[in-house]
């Protein structure tokens, strides 16, 4: 049996998640024993026209992006969203908080070189996604796990518990106890509590957990004199836009 062919494509983003894949180094070479990477512009110039697995990085932020995604997705059997921009819209969502016309005026003045700009969206607003690798940037080991699932043809379960679980396992002193705010209690785990390990509050880059135990969260935060709304209003980079905010409103405001 021939090895499955994998193609990487990027849209509107910083390409940092593909760099995490490139940085796997020797692990990446190991991965190439199981798959053929046919398209990965960050590290290679050969272009394969046929592929089975499409790994998409970046948000969709123009009509051109949208058309191109549809075209490259049509050839793929399996689609993987790589990183926050593709999976949830990531920081690109922040531009949706203001009108595009207003922003063009500020950045470009009277000239308009970006006529086809549209509000940013995650790729699952355009195509069906089979696997999600969350995070800004992705956590390399999780990408390897997801690719193993892709190869075995079984689903990958994104952790359904909050970052706090991993943070406790890492024996960090809780940032609330240090007088700070943190989105760990409401953010889906899988990053090994990357920010709190380094003394920085979680900002929710992986998105909210799918089934937050809203009442339990409220109880925990109450202990520190906080509310979910209160912490989200302080750390607004990822949660305060679009899909994530809607989820938050549904779970915590009702």
């Amino acid at each position: 049996m021939s090895k499955p062919k994998v193609a990487f494509f990027e849209f509107t983003d910083c390409e940092g998640c593909q760099l995490q894949v490139a940085n796997l180094g020797v692990d990446l070479l190991e991965l190439t024993k199981a798959v053929d990477i046919v398209n990965f512009r960050e590290i290679m110039s050969e272009e394969g026209q046929e592929y089975d697995v499409l790994v998409v990085e970046g948000s969709i932020a123009s009509k051109h992006d949208e058309e191109r995604l549809k075209a490259v997705a049509a050839k793929a059997k399996v689609i993987v969203a790589l990183g926050a921009c593709a999976a949830t819209g990531g920081v690109n969502n922040l531009k949706n908080l203001k009108s595009i016309e207003e922003q063009k005026k500020i950045v470009y003045g009277d000239v308009d070189p970006v006529k086809d700009a549209i509000p940013a969206k995650p790729i699952d607003a355009v195509v069906k996604v089979d696997y999600y690798v969350h995070g800004c940037p992705i956590h390399g080991p999780e990408f390897v796990k997801v690719m193993q699932c892709v190869l075995m043809g079984k689903p990958y379960q994104v952790p359904a518990y909050p970052v706090c679980v991993e943070c406790k396992q890492n024996e960090n002193v809780c940032l609330f106890d240090k007088g700070q705010f943190c989105l760990g209690p409401i953010t889906r785990a899988g990053c090994n509590s990357w920010l709190p390990n380094n003394g920085v509050p979680c900002v929710g880059c992986r998105g909210l957990i799918d089934n937050p135990a809203a009442n339990a969260q409220k109880d925990i935060l109450e202990k520190y004199g906080l509310t979910v709304e209160g912490i989200m209003d302080k750390l607004t980079l990822y949660c305060n836009a679009q899909k994530e905010r809607a989820k938050y409103d549904k779970e915590f405001k009702s």
Binding site: C14, Q18, G109, A117, P137, G199, L235
Partner: protein, 462 residues
Amino acid sequence: MTKSSSPNPERMAHRIPHSGGAKDVKVDVHYLTRVEGHGDITVDVRAGELKECKFKVIESARFFETMLRGRLIYEAQHLTSRICGICACGHSLASIKASENALGVVPHEDTLLLRKLLLHTEQMDSHVLHAYILVAPDLLGVKSIMPLVKTHRPVIERAFRMKKLSDWAGEILAGRHTHPISFAIGGLTKIPEKAHLQKLREMMVEARADYAETVELFKKLSLPSFERKGQYVALSSPDEYAFYDGKINVNGEKLVDPQDYLSVIKEEVRDYSSAKFVTVNKAPYMVGALARFNLNGDKLDKKSKEIASYLGLKRPCYNTFMNTVAQVVEWGYCLEDSIAILERLIKNGINEEKVLVTMYPKKDQWPVRTRAGRGVGTVEVPRGILFHDYTVDDHGLVSAANCIIPTNQNINNLEADMKKIVPEIVGTQDEEEMRLTLEMLARAYDPCISCSTHLLDVRFIS
């Protein structure tokens, strides 16, 4: 150094040396950028005259400058590091410097040393990625590193080892290299462990052997002989080969305070490109390793100077293709300076009390009150000088922001180089050779896009 030699370069029709049946040539370069995503170069030659040479960035605009407006200044470095995953540390540091200048925060000298170290390791990370993953395959006559895994395993393993070194450095200094975590306004949220600093020093000392091999590999590199006496801009400092701090050096003719960058650097919007075009003295200029070497080469250590001369790099160098060689020289300089910084930090220790800060104001400091003001932050990132400029109100909210990235600054210069080189090669090179020369020219800038410049079409339309 002087300005572009021809008096009105934009307006002059470029005559093509006529060689028998000179064809009409249309060159389309399609490639993707890291920052701006998708860019095209169009070169159109008809009846021996260069009609058009345009660089179009057709990627969706990302609107970072408007995203920043209304956002808390303490979130700025987190957000702007997302401009580029390759130069994330540089963006983060430019952002922190701009924020500190706006807020009137003065960091401790140990913090400055750690920032310089982090920035060095990012130059090393990016330079090795460019030199090995783009240029080494050319040297060895293949299209990417993938075939080399079988044929040149030791070269690839060396590249990964060198890459891993800076990647690990990012991890122990800042939590990670892409989108660094612990570097904050005023200091760090976590102090790097002494044992890690010691191990990093050991790894760097060992890496000298890999660097020596790298120099030998690039000694074999044969580069096109092209010259265009252009303009160069970089940070310059009287104390060191500048990356983190300095004044804006314009062609070695004047030094400008970073706060006044807008008095020399002019941005212009053209309706065909979502990236802005940037000029100095109303003309294109180059930023990056070659610009730094031309302006600051005298500040390199003795060993780096010897390596530059061994690799045939002499100041001033007007051959854009030599930018990769300048990167190889810088890799060695950054390695040696990093070892020196590490030894200092290991010997003296890090002053935790002065360095340790929180990323955001603590619970008892809300609602946030800050000094209102404007601050500019500049650093040299792998591809050249980077500017962040923020205005903050007295609630710590950003009211205006401007970022000028290196690739935008180089676009104009790449256009100017292409205008000069196309007439020089049209009559003398065949289709395949032209394609390769233009690819190599674009790649020499190591624009965020260079990885993808292989996607270059040269179409002969006659």
